[in-house]
Symmetry: C2
Subunit: 194 residues, 2 copies
């Protein structure tokens, strides 16, 4: 039993490094970049608060489990900003290697259970995974609106760029959230805020 707990704690200690993985998005007050661990917590809270935006087949507790785990691979692979340029095939290879190493720290039963949840999120085929993916795309524009532009300024994006990158992904799992985000993004840029 001790060996099992040693493995579990080794994984949890390694996971601590996600607190040092920085994202392009800042906190709402613009004071510093958000890290992927606190972002993951925030998305879990989004899932609890915005559950009424999910379709009837979505299991919110499953969504939350996915969101807890969804960015862990960034410990090895880093965060890829929504408006950055990168080779999606290379990113996916890096993330698979990261998943192999990180979940591999766990006892076999837990490794398989948690990796399956992460793979479900990545595949974005189940209603729960699609909703989780929508929240992951919906939170950054809410942060940027709150901070007065955030990563939109850094990447010099237009409302059309934003729509191209996030509209389809948000709409697929939570159409009401894209309607809401689009209205607010349009108003923000119409004010000439950037």
């Amino acid at each position: 039993m001790t060996l099992r707990l040693d493995q579990q704690i080794a994984f949890l200690n390694e996971a601590d490094r996600l607190k040092s993985t920085l994202r392009a998005t800042t906190l709402c007050d613009g004071s510093r970049p958000e890290n992927s661990a606190e972002h993951s917590w925030h998305l879990c809270l989004y899932a609890l608060v915005l559950a009424d935006q999910a379709g009837p087949q979505v299991e919110i507790d499953r969504v939350i489990r996915m969101l807890i785990l969804h960015d862990l691979v960034e410990i090895d692979a880093g965060d890829n900003p929504i408006y950055g340029d990168f080779d999606q095939t290379v990113v996916e290879q890096q993330e698979q290697l990261a998943a192999e190493r990180l979940f591999g720290l766990l006892p076999d039963d837990l490794r398989d259970e948690l990796r399956a949840i992460w793979e479900e999120f990545e595949a974005a085929e189940t209603p729960s995974a699609r909703f989780a993916k929508s929240l992951d795309r919906f939170q950054p524009p809410m942060q940027n609106l709150a901070s007065g532009g955030g990563s939109w300024i850094d990447y010099k994006v237009t409302p059309q760029d934003i729509e191209t990158r996030i509209a389809a992904k948000i709409t697929r799992g939570a159409p009401g959230l894209w309607t809401y985000a689009k209205r607010r993004i349009t108003a923000f840029f119409a004010q000439g805020a950037l």
Copy 2:
């Protein structure tokens, strides 16, 4: 519907401030204090990974919902370090006021639903709440062991101080975790590491 979403987003933006609430515990690498948002995420991961330490009546998904919400009141009330001195009655009054204000930002149905989850955690009477409380007490010593002492150094604590503050609370919800923690804490201090 827009008003409802405006309220939900206002709450989620206010919750963002938990990322700026600092705790006494550091990251595992000792590089900086942990904030309460990333700590909350870490505890959710603890719940997923250490579910086999929970009694049969514990609902892990309920535990996770509690852990997502458990520290939100610190946005107004601040964090109270385990080894600090404070008046528990005053703290509880501050936290109740914080809960009133923060959950009050939400539409009424969500306010009631989320506050009930937080109150269940605070009361520590259900098996799920007791397990959640155990994890909240178990994670800091794991961080301190990883970082070479952490808040134990800052507060000049002895193994007996640690036992006094956390043993009963961890044991109540997860006895196996206290057995494990005690063995490692004893070995750590026996090495004269502090």
